[in-house]
């Protein structure tokens, strides 16, 4: 049913720490692994070892450079997966009822038995969080690892999303953002967690923690070292110029 639930009390989602993410793409790989070997159509790769490989992923890591005037540039690694929006435009546009938002925990899912691969939900998502799988023709998106988090067949410590379990720098946190006393909610409050594209009106559940402010230099930077090299003179100078003139040296004979 593509009507959004009035309000899910429980809002399961991720909190992603842009300060600690090191851009290792570990979550990308573990997400692809889990979601290819478990629920639903596998995430296919096309021409994986060829000249023009491409494939379906539910989570991808970008890297951005941020520069403020008179400050050193800063690199920020930026993982991006479905934000399980409260006002999910991808759900309401779906003509088949394949896309839905669960009332019990707010997870946005695709029912693969109903999806007709029209792609309209991917057009409606401002974040690029949905990819149509080329092989199966079915829309794929982050499931919040719904087949792990409630899975009693796996050890308790594994009952979190694969990406969260894998992250070596602990940059991904999973929990109930609808509960103000949950660890994730406290983390968001403490670190000033933000929404992506709030003006799009999607009300994302996932939050991003902005990078902590960098130190600034409290004194003028040291002067660069003086050059100690000298132009060779006399016989050495002659040798240097002679060698320079031979083909194959720097600057010359480059025109092959």
């Amino acid at each position: 049913m593509t009507q959004l639930p009035a309000q899910s009390k429980k809002k399961l989602g991720l909190v992603i720490d842009l300060d600690t993410c090191v851009g290792c793409h570990g979550c990308v790989t573990s997400c692809k692994g889990w979601n290819t070997q478990n629920y639903g159509e596998p995430l296919s790769d096309i021409d994986a070892y060829g000249a023009d490989p491409s494939g379906t992923f539910l989570n991808r890591v970008f890297s951005y450079e941020v520069e403020a005037p008179n400050k050193p540039a800063q690199t920020v690694h930026f993982p991006k997966s479905c934000l399980h929006c409260e006002d999910a435009p991808c759900v309401t546009v779906c003509p088949t009822g394949a896309s839905y938002k669960r009332e019990e925990d707010g997870i946005v899912l695709v029912n693969e038995d109903r999806c007709m691969g029209c792609g309209l939900c991917a057009w409606a998502c401002p974040y690029g969080a949905r990819e149509l799988d080329f092989m199966s023709g079915i829309m794929k998106k982050c499931t919040l690892c719904v087949d792990r988090i409630y899975n009693e067949n796996i050890p308790e410590e594994d009952r979190v999303p694969a990406c969260v379990r894998t992250c070596p720098s602990n940059a991904r946190h999973f929990g109930d953002l609808g509960d103000p006393d949950s660890d994730v909610s406290k983390l968001v409050a403490e670190r000033g967690g933000i929404d992506l594209m709030p003006e799009q009106g999607t009300k994302p559940v996932n939050k991003y923690l902005p990078p902590r402010l960098k130190d600034t230099l409290d004194s003028a930077p040291p002067k660069p070292l003086e050059s100690v090299s000298e132009e060779p003179k006399g016989w050495l100078g002659w040798l240097d110029r002679a060698l320079e003139a031979l083909p194959g040296s720097n600057g010359k004979a480059e025109d092959k």
């Binding site: 009507q3 990308v28 970008f62 029209c118 309209l120 057009w123």
Partner: protein
């Protein structure tokens, strides 16, 4: 957005088809028998052909039947439902005129209104998308409706009416291009809000998440051909509008004039529909673009 032939053909042909239906339902042209068969054949061929083209866009066609189920929220679902209802409403009207020589006018009038609603609903599939600011404006449905009724008028041979409507259409199309150009910046979405890093300084892409193409890039970050946009807009304005208007309003009424104008207009419709998709920028492009 990727200007896929299937969606260009779908919106262009079904728009023309339902536009023609809107006139036929009013009894314009007021024909029976074989002539009536000819006009209804064209109307059904265009609208059904357009709908079939849209099915080619689907990656998992076997589930297409479910697409009639979510009319409560989905404009795409409503589109399918409305198209079928409209085509069915016209059936008794067409049969009456073709085979029985009678005018079941009530089906015609209701059908005309339904045909216009169908075109409106089609336009809303695009207009509703906030993530594509260029489409997300009230002028988009106006434009789709004008394309439908003026193309329809042209096909019914209502030369002067068509000329007048096409003149308005051309002006609205130009306005839509100009207003559309300002929509993306006007939406307030930029690299800063997309990454949430805007408060820290100027955001640039350092490394994309992937080096090869993917569905998102293919479908939503289409940039090829945008640099020819101005040229294509000029050609479109001439072929949809200026040339047909001159023919229709300044030359004596006649089949040759109408057909020449129609040929030119249809070429223009396809070019402008190509531009409608190719020029539409999706906000997801912000995650990828430099600068």
């Amino acid at each position: 957005m990727h200007p896929a032939p299937s969606v260009i053909i779908f919106t262009s042909l079904s728009g023309l088809g339902f536009g023609l239906f809107a006139w036929l339902g009013l009894g314009i042209p007021d024909v029976y028998g074989w002539s009536s068969f000819a006009v209804f054949f064209i109307a059904y061929a265009l609208s059904v052909g357009g709908l079939l083209a849209s099915v080619f866009h689907l990656a998992n066609k076997k589930n297409v039947i479910y697409s009639f189920s979510q009319w409560r929220t989905s404009w795409l679902s409503r589109e399918g439902v409305m198209a079928v209802i409209t085509l069915l409403t016209f059936a008794p009207f067409a049969i009456g005129r073709i085979f029985l020589g009678i005018d079941l006018a009530i089906f015609g009038y209701v059908g005309s209104i339904l045909a216009l609603i169908t075109v409106f609903v089609t336009s809303m599939i695009y207009t509703q998308l906030k993530a594509v600011p260029r489409w997300n404006m009230p002028l988009t449905p106006v434009l789709f409706l004008l394309y439908a009724v003026s193309g329809g008028a042209l096909m019914t041979g209502e030369q002067r009416v068509a000329g007048f409507l096409i003149a308005i259409l051309t002006l609205v199309q130009i306005a839509a291009w100009v207003l559309g150009d300002a929509r993306f910046t006007g939406s307030g979405t930029d690299k800063g809000s997309a990454t949430g890093l805007g408060g820290l300084g100027k955001v640039r892409v350092f490394e994309s998440a992937h080096t090869s193409r993917n569905y998102i890039l293919d479908e939503m970050v289409h940039v090829i051909g945008r640099r020819h946009a101005t040229k294509l807009r000029t050609i479109a304005a001439l072929t949809i509008g200026l040339f047909p208007v001159v023919l229709l309003l300044m030359l004596p009424v006649g089949h040759v004039t109408s057909l020449t104008a129609l040929a030119s207009h249809i070429v223009g419709v396809f070019i402008s529909r190509w531009l409608f998709f190719a020029e539409a920028e999706h906000v997801v492009g912000l995650y990828y673009s430099r600068g």
